[in-house]
């Protein structure tokens, strides 16, 4: 500055010439405006305007963003092309939201409608002694049944769900005592849920936590013409230690349902069967993925 360098010599021509320098007063005014707007956002959040809270909050944020970009980042005095570049980022973001939102929000079966079942936190049991039915346990089982089983077994468990017609053998009718393979006792239903019925449309539901499978078993058993009970021997055979209050971690690690479906497919193909799911049946298109999606872990 005080030295005698020749700033107009070749190559050291100053860029400061004609460069807009924001006056201090403008900076302080902008700072004040930003702080006031922050106060407004915080204040507004205590007023209940419904969805308008969101709209107003975002508008105020956009105003703040505009102040920062146009004054602090000097876009208002800058080459227009830089504004175009910056705004184009938001333009592409808008396209992203515009295309993703309709897909995400209106694709019916990514998530089940209605009440979500909270999966128990690992190692913490929601129910004590889930192998002994209580009204709460049966109700919990019903809630899961309405999500996971109605497509085949029907809303009343009569084996008449929308997908039932395509399945050979047909899904079991729980209100009748006929035709049961594994049996109607809760411990036997529990076994069915864990292992599935190989070679039929009844896949393993081992991805559902054991505790929830017990609640399902009690709900299914409760639909029967007469409700069968487990003897202590039955429970022991099902791997329950009745001297404890919780289910032990006695289960082998489970495999995802899609993998189970693939194994099932491979098995039926090997056995020379045509496969028990008729191809091209709308309700069953992508069945495996849909089941997987339904077991979406709400903890994550």
């Amino acid at each position: 500055m005080s030295n005698s360098h020749d700033n107009h010599g070749h190559g050291s021509h100053g860029e400061g010439h004609g460069h807009y320098i924001i006056p201090d007063a403008t900076i302080y005014k902008t700072l004040g405006a930003l702080l006031v707007l922050t106060g407004i956002t915080v204040g507004l959040s205590f007023v209940h305007l419904g969805t308008w809270n969101f709209v107003v909050g975002m508008l105020v944020a956009a105003m703040k963003a505009y102040l920062v970009a146009s004054i602090f980042m000097n876009l208002s005095h800058d080459d227009k092309s830089n504004s175009v570049i910056f705004v184009s980022g938001f333009f592409f973001l808008a396209i992203f939201i515009g295309l993703t939102a309709p897909d995400f929000l209106f694709r019916g079966d990514i998530f089940t409608e209605g009440k979500q079942i909270m999966l128990p936190v690992k190692g913490v049991s929601q129910f004590k002694r889930p192998w002994e039915p209580t009204p709460e346990i049966v109700a919990h089982g019903k809630a899961i049944f309405m999500q996971q089983c109605v497509s085949c077994h029907g809303p009343e468990g009569k084996g008449d769900g929308p997908a039932a017609a395509a399945l050979v053998p047909h899904p079991r009718n729980f209100t009748s005592a006929d035709g049961w393979g594994n049996g109607r006792k809760p411990s036997q239903i529990f076994k069915t849920l864990k292992e599935g019925r190989p070679g039929t449309g009844m896949a393993s539901f081992a991805t559902i936590p054991a505790e929830d499978r017990w609640t399902l078993a009690h709900y299914v058993a409760s639909l029967g013409p007469n409700v069968l009970k487990d003897t202590p021997e039955d429970l022991k055979a099902a791997g329950v230690d009745t001297s404890k209050d919780t289910l032990g971690d006695t289960e082998a690690p489970s495999i995802p349902i899609t993998a189970a479906m693939k194994i099932l497919d491979a098995e039926t193909a090997k056995d020379g069967l045509k496969g028990n799911i008729k191809p091209g049946h709308d309700d069953l298109e992508g069945y495996g993925e849909r089941v997987e999606a339904r077991t979406f872990n709400p903890n994550l």
Partner: protein
């Protein structure tokens, strides 16, 4: 040029070296505007990166309004507002630092930049207290969540977004503080003058951008139920 004979180390904040623009530019102005344009392009990539997470947040919020509403009450509005104010003031000290450098007032510029770093540090400190409090309660992202006080389904999803968004933002704050430190050393070495202040201005942009992101994060996470 006379400066070629000046021994290294002679230049400092009060006596900066003259600047020579790269031989691939037509003029210093050309060099400056190219660098600036590059910075804006970089910021567009940042908008898109953070924007993607915003979109995820918004969609899941539309999907699970109750869960997000209940979960957001766990955040401390006072601390969030405090951090908003800190960042806004730091943005102002940043511009003051940049304009001081543009006017050739390098000492004032250093003072403003140090204040900016200090405010960035305050922001991180507040964030640190917020995080440790959450961890203490068992509020962790995703499957690690084990907070007994809030068991609404999908509440952990809110906190996954909270930690990822504020975590990425805090990372940017720390990077910004490092960049400002780098700028200060360059000023001290006499590499910044009123003829050449490109790095100061570009780091300033970066810092304002970090502020911009927080301007949206704060209402989205802390305020809007």
């Amino acid at each position: 040029m006379s400066h070629a004979s000046v021994p290294a180390g002679k230049y400092n904040a009060d006596n900066p070296a003259p600047h020579h623009f790269g031989h691939h530019f037509e003029s210093a102005e050309h060099e400056f505007s190219s660098a600036k344009q590059g910075m804006w392009l970089f910021m567009v990539t940042e908008v898109l990166m953070i924007g993607a997470i915003f979109v995820g947040y918004l969609l899941f919020r539309l999907r699970f309004p109750e869960a997000f509403h209940e979960a957001h009450k766990e955040l401390n509005v006072k601390l969030g507002a405090l951090n908003t104010v800190i960042l806004i003031i730091s943005s102002a000290t940043m511009v003051l630092g940049v304009t001081a450098a543009q006017r050739g007032n390098n000492r004032r510029s250093i003072g403003m930049l140090i204040t900016t770093i200090f405010l960035g540090g305050c922001f991180c400190l507040v964030k640190y207290f917020e995080y440790t409090h959450k961890f203490h309660e068992g509020i962790f992202p995703g499957g690690l969540y084990h907070f007994e006080g809030l068991t609404v389904p999908h509440a952990p999803l809110f906190f996954s977004f909270y930690f990822v968004m504020t975590g990425i933002h805090a990372f940017h704050v720390v990077v910004g503080m490092c960049l400002i430190t780098w700028i200060i050393t360059r000023i001290k070495r006499g590499q910044i003058s009123k003829e050449f202040f490109t790095p100061v201005e570009l780091v300033g942009f970066y810092w304002h951008f970090v502020d911009l992101v927080w301007i949206f994060l704060f209402p989205l996470l802390y305020l809007l139920g």
